[in-house]
Amino acid sequence: MSIDISSFRQAFFEESAEQLDEFESSLLQLERDPSDRELLNCIFRCAHSIKGGSATFGFPEVASFTHSLETLLDEVRNSRVVIDSTLSRLLLESLDHMRILISVSKGEVESAPDSAGLIARLVDASKTSPKASPVPVIVEEQSVPGSEELYQLDFKPGQDSIRRGNDPLRMLEDLRGIAEVTRISCDKSGIPPMEEMDPEACYIAWSLTMITTANEAELVEPFEFIAGDSVVNLTVSDGFFRGANFATPSVPEDDAPVVASKRKPAQEAATTSAKDGGTIKVSSEKLDKLINLVGELIISQSMLNSVTEELDTTKLVGLTEAVSHMERSSRELQEQVMGLRLLQIKMAFGRFPRLVHDLASVCNKKIELRLSGEETELDKNLIEAIGDPLTHLVRNSIDHGLEPAEERLNAGKPGVGVLSLSAYHEGGSITIEVADDGRGLNVERILAKAIDRGLVSADDNLTDEQIYQLIFQPGFSTAEQVTDLSGRGVGMDIVNQAIAAIGGSVKVTSVPGKGCSTRIRLPLTMAILEGQSMAVADNVYIIPLTSIIECIRPRQEDVHDIAQTGEVVRVREEFLPVLRMHRAFGVEPKISEPWDGSMVLVECEGRKIAILVDELLGQSQVVIKSLETNYQKVEGIAGATILGDGRVALIIDVPGLVRGFEGQKKKAA
């Protein structure tokens, strides 16, 4: 029966990816603290593990390259070679090379650059001759069919053989399987008197004669594991001593200190292995299905609630209780299941230490990266989605925001610039902040560019904050020249769009000379939404709570219709434009005047709008259903949900709705 090793390759690839990430982060930490033994051991183990796995699962190029790396790392961890910045760079290069080699093995990439050069440098750095033992390769055992021969075997197992779990009788049985034993005798002379005897030691020897066609290698094979400290004398019985003598006196060696010290639990790079023991990898697809089903359950629950509310339940006391109990369980189930999709944002932050390290050296700037709130949890889809936007923001900071050391010192700042990435919960959402203590945004330049591009006119009186938000307009860029990293003019608006697509918002604040901070606000999850329901005639609409500032019942005296501008409502000291929902959706409202209905005040891209509806219904958690699956994307609609009575309610996409509204006003003007 043959076993197909290739089915385990996927597991190996996933594992190697984790190992390489751990290698990288340990190495970067090591640069700050070159004497940390645990980090050195960790790096060695990563390389060692990948070497073993790649050899076993059939990737010899990876194995042989990693072997050289491992040799070097062994020297390092035994303090025979010291890590300095040159060596560190070499190791990072090797790491990147390993990633490429593994990509090739996966079939993702056609071919890799030749390993020979790097290997030579690794060997050089080891300053020792290439390790005597080459990469282990399987040697096929040759069996030469021969004619029958008569052999004599003298066999005395070493005293400790049994202690090591060996079973001499089993070995003799195995021998019987390949040879016809004609005579066997047991030598008990070695057994000491009872008082001196160690019951776990082996004192007996055997001597036997056998006829066999097997060759010598096969005949001594059963004794392979005790050969080192036993006597296994095989002779051909023509008396000529031909067999190899395997007897070597066992030399007790001083115990090399091999017990590893307990790993510090504070180790951040820690324990993908430790965690591994208690986790199961589940495919995202299965999880999504599960979440969908739970969503359905919640909807059924609502439907059940609606129905039981209308029943005369005085006779059905048990029913109300049961339904209420079920509701509690469903809600809890929902929470747990939603939690399954949550991952720590650490995953999204993972690429940045290396990225910042590399970018800083390319730009010749000194930059310190500070991460905080890495344990903040976020829906897996969101983590994937913010990766690129975050990268762009980081690149912006490094490229434009943070100044070279000299400039900083001249400005009275410390030479090392600080770039911080932080994440925290705030209300019902997550905020991710990318901040630097660099130059800050240049208000004049932004304004000039915006005017130049016709986005605003020279006499628009804009606050600094509004000017900063202009950078999110498409085609905007104030970089003097297009540098390699960013400044191509596609940056911030793509970031904005990407964030908006996942239901979030971006806001930038800056202090000239002191720095710049970009805050991304994201909903906790993409599948479920906290929303305010409202009605226009028979239609129910839902607006996400994150967009809502407040809800009001407007008074007649506060609503004005201003020529050339449109309807506005006065809220405390501000005048907000009024968006009539029924107009936006082409439905007939039940109310005739704004003061008969309710208004929902929303904030969107720095502007505030009042949305007029017939009446407000409750607030609830709704399961977001896609409109696009079977229909298409509709501007102003983020999705749909199913109400307790089975009807469909539309979920409003506030920015889209507002855009449509303003577009209409422009046309009318």
């Binding site: 082409g586 409109l627 079977n630 229909y631 609609i637």
Partner: protein
């Protein structure tokens, strides 16, 4: 979002299914669509309007948890409007990997129409559409066989174009 697979009985000769149609009436004419495209049949329920939708899309419905757009075939074919009543039916089809519903006056039956009883669609000149698969004749009755993919192509392609 899953689309229900039609389960064919064991030992089904697939060839015998290629000429099975679900027939329904629209404005006193009998129409038929390929049975394999039909997922289910539902009584008419009021839909939720979608803003800026083309006129023949009356809105969307909740179909066991999935949001499904509903098309009024009368509007698609420029037939006069009627009031929907208890016989009005929504035929749910799967077309271009999307689930959609079409409102018809009433559903008749599932029929086998042999290939030899199907005539190619007449050439109606410029005004004609390619929405017809052919004209079927069953017991002196004319069944207009629709190519439902072509009829609903607009709806399906709207999404990809967006």
């Amino acid at each position: 979002m899953e689309t229900e697979q039609k389960k064919l009985p064991e030992g089904t000769d697939l060839a015998s299914y290629t000429n099975q149609f679900l027939t329904f009436t629209l404005a006193d004419e009998e129409y038929g669509v390929d049975i394999l495209k039909v997922q289910e049949i539902k009584g008419y329920v009021a839909t939720t309007r979608i803003p800026n939708a083309p006129p023949h899309v009356t809105g969307v419905l909740n179909l066991r948890g999935t949001i499904v757009p509903i098309i009024d075939l009368r509007r698609t074919f420029n037939l006069p409007e009627v009031v929907y009543d208890q016989f009005t039916v929504i035929v749910v089809v799967v077309v271009h990997d999307r689930v959609m519903g079409m409102i018809v006056d009433s559903v008749s039956e599932v029929m086998n129409i042999m290939a030899e009883d199907i005539q190619p669609p007449p050439n109606l000149g410029k005004g004609g559409s390619n929405a017809l698969r052919g004209l079927g004749k069953v017991d002196d009755k004319l069944v207009i066989l629709l190519d439902i993919d072509a009829v609903l192509l607009d709806e399906a392609s709207l999404a990809t174009a967006a």
